[in-house]
Amino acid sequence: MKAAMTAVIEASGLRKSYGATRAVDSVSFEIQPGRIVGLIGPNGAGKTTLFKAILGLTDFEGDLRVLGRDPRSERNELMRDVCFIADVAVLPRWLRVSQALDFVAGVHPRFERSRATEFLRKTDIRMSARVRELSKGMVTQLHLALILANDARLLVLDEPTLGLDLLFRRQFYDTLLNDYFDKERTIVLTTHQVEEIENLLTDVIFVNRGRIVLDTPVDALPGRYVQLTVSAERAVQARQLKPFYEREVFGRVAMFFEGGDPQGLAAFAASGGELRTPTVADLFVAKMEGSLA
């Protein structure tokens, strides 16, 4: 009971079907406070359904607790402590910046207006501007300002930087890390630009076809996964160590091992092979393609 209370999100046997398609198929996972969790999967893997379930935006079967609450029946209470950005395009276009602040201040018990205005002062956003007059990047900044001032315990981001240029994307995540995140708060996010955020994640959950393929802290990856790059000639030999996925890179072969035989791998490393922990992005591709084979 005590342990169950500490998890920010706790899902077990989560299921959701759209007609015959199983968007989420018996998914179970736990997310602890103070983590930044990347929910990563190809299009149609069920990420969005998972998000909607967590945010109480869709019905589902199974058991799900977010901050100890059931998002289906306690959605309003939940939204006091949870913030989310579903997409960049989601702020109403007719809304003025000042109205956005007025509104959130009026309905959100945690909103600290001064924090939002302080953040907005650092941007080019005018208080009198309407959302439709702002660039995509500025809309995201505005949304971020609203969220930072909300002081939520859980922040859920679904492709928050979609369509933004590199500078805005970098700035977005920097702000999240510096101005929002601490050991009490939790961030769950999806993005297609895995490479850009993998240094920021503490945990990854890979989803494919409605199921969880991998659920691990990022710092546990080095002991668990190994990427060996060898020349094409030596690949036949290395294959005997049973990689779960391999691909060719500039004439050499990158092989991915789970667990694996440390001595055997070290022998290849000593003889011209390159041994390292795969990046989250590479591991993702390996896991997805590997599971297809």
Partner: protein, 325 residues
């Protein structure tokens, strides 16, 4: 929700720690939330107040432009009684364009308000805030059934006063026929009261219609207007073809214009005509003869409200799991 502990921590001196650490946040007060939601509707749907304001501006402009000579008046409004009746009638007539425009705008508003937020995908933003679907739907119904009608009523009253003031001023400068500019405070108050009662009666009577539009607005994925109009039209046609009866059409007619039979309006109108010496209807007499009690005791009024609640409930349920998809 408000345990003694949370009350203590929120009532105490400002804390150094951020409130997030101390646990669950309390709800914003419902009234404050509702007021904010109503303001939000007026931000988004500016026609709700721009339309009536524009009509008022037009009417005030008319007060300057309209010219009435002594000859035209003397024929119909020779006596003092008739001039007072005419005064009341003008006062009422000036509000007619106001209410017609309001009705059109409100119909479009009701059909649009739960549809637009899905169309522009902003529903996910609204839903990221701790505001329940019930409060949201209630705020929209409140805007359409109470806030805007009362606002238009007050605006129409101010417009009336302005109009009268301009006419009186013009008459005192000899720019209008002197008998064209009557002022009668009792008539004025009675006509205003009559219209307020009419407004109140309409709010109750038309609430189910408003809630129906709102429900369609929450339900339709496109072509909201068509979805709102088609079901009753098809029902009427099917009934006519299958049974050669007209119950549905009768019901719709009753729920749109039947209101005035429920308030002994016919009787009241007759006595008003009599008081106007069979020439000009005296709205003040109309008000005197009005029986609001009979209307409020009519079961159909309350059945209608129950149906309105049902429609609103469905709208809330629909919005619960509806998003941009």
């Amino acid at each position: 929700m408000s345990t003694p502990e949370t009350n203590l921590s929120s009532a105490g001196a400002p804390m150094v720690d951020s409130p997030s650490v101390s646990g669950v946040a309390r709800a914003a007060p419902l009234l404050g939330t509702l007021i904010m939601l109503v303001r939000r509707e007026l931000w988004e749907h500016r026609a709700l107040w721009l339309g009536p304001l524009a009509i008022s501006a037009l009417l005030v402009a008319c007060a300057f432009a309209v010219h009435i000579g002594p000859v035209e008046l003397s024929e119909h409004a020779g006596s003092d009684v008739q001039r007072r009746a005419l005064f009341g009638l003008v006062q009422w007539g000036l509000t007619v364009p106001q209410y017609i425009v309001m009705l059109i705008i409100l119909n479009f508003y009701l059909l649009d308000c739960l549809y637009a937020e899905r169309k522009d995908r902003s529903i996910l933003f609204w839903k990221s805030l701790p505001v329940s679907d019930a409060t949201t739907v209630a705020s929209k119904l409140l805007v359409a059934v109470v806030v805007v009608p009362l606002g238009v009523y007050l605006l129409a009253m101010v417009t009336n006063l302005l109009f009268s003031a301009i006419w009186l001023a013009r008459a005192s400068y000899g720019l209008l026929a002197p008998n064209a500019s009557v002022w009668d405070t009792v008539v004025f108050l009675k006509v205003e009261a009559l219209m307020l009662v009419g407004l109140f009666v309409s709010m109750l009577w038309y609430a189910p219609l408003a809630a129906y539009f709102l429900m369609i607005s929450a339900w339709a994925r496109r072509a909201v207007f068509l979805w709102a109009v088609l079901p009753p039209v098809i029902a009427i046609l099917v009934e006519h073809l299958a049974f050669r009866t007209q119950y549905v059409a009768g019901l719709i007619e009753y729920r749109t214009t039947g209101i005035w039979q429920r308030t002994n309006m016919e009787q009241a109108a007759n006595s008003a005509i009599a008081a106007g010496k069979h020439q000009i209807v005296s709205l003040a007499a109309f008000f005197d003869a009005l029986n609001i009690r009979e209307f409020l005791l009519n079961i159909d009024v309350w059945l209608g409200l129950a149906v309105a609640l049902g429609f609103a409930f469905v709208a809330v349920r629909l919005r619960r799991y509806r998003d941009d998809t």
